[in-house]
Amino acid sequence: MNQFTAVTQQDERGICCIDLAGYLDAHTATELESIINTVITDGCRRIVVNFADLEYISSAGLGVFMVFIESVRADGGDIKLAAMKPKVFTVFDLLGFPVLFEIYPTVEEAKQAFPSLDA
């Protein structure tokens, strides 16, 4: 059973979008951590995580974003979160994570929130 997938694509503005699908728990969180690590190692610091097809998240999943947020912001980038189902947002909200992370209704809005590289 394939419980979790994360697919990365980079757009013409240099924004890396990671599309999540399935169930993000103590088992699958290591897979996401590895994928984000690869994205960052490859030089991307403008990251949008698309939660549209994510059905479940536990604290192990939340922890993955905590691992990287500081270093990405220190480099002038960000990890912006988008398109969460209400049941997934509830878990973020339960622990106050929206204070730390920017969460947008859509992927496009999250991408637009990055400053233009031309500026």
Partner: protein, 146 residues
């Protein structure tokens, strides 16, 4: 007169994280069938997942030769989930939980499972192994709210 349908049950899985989804699916189907709200169902499933994740990772170290047993009892207005194990006893009620504003400000990671259990469930009871049993028992209780 017909007997009410029972949604109670027990699931036993190897103590590895790749079996967590089986516990969640076992709980979801039964809690939903018993007529609890999706919000209550999601909260109970999350709390039990956190408890089992902690047990598997920190007590059993992902050891497939060990097992986790989850028993579900659904009364009309209460869901009770009992998680039993033979690991070194650890009472989550004795654990210090993080202060979230500080936690987020300092970009900490991990250690949120017990806080989630406390925020979601109405009661957390723990009975360590003793002279009469070699199993520890963590009992999570959630009352129906609607």
């Amino acid at each position: 007169m017909t007997s009410p349908v029972s949604h109670n049950g027990i699931i036993t899985v190897p103590a590895t994280t790749d079996h967590l989804h089986e516990i969640r699916e076992f709980l979801r189907a039964r809690i939903r069938a018993a007529g609890f709200s999706e919000f209550e169902e999601n909260g109970i499933v999350l709390a039990v997942d956190e408890a089992c994740s902690n047990l598997i990772r920190h007590a059993y170290h992902n050891d497939p030769t060990q097992s986790v047993e989850v028993a579900l009892v659904i009364d009309p207005d209460v869901v009770t989930v009992s998680i039993s194990d033979t690991a070194t006893p650890f009472d989550p009620n004795s654990a210090q939980v993080p202060d979230m504003p500080t936690y987020l400000q300092e970009r900490r990671n991990g250690g949120l499972g017990i806080l989630i259990m406390r925020r979601v469930m109405d009661a957390i009871d723990y009975v360590p192994c003793g002279p009469t049993t070699n199993r520890n028992m963590l009992v999570l209780t959630k009352r129906r709210t609607a």
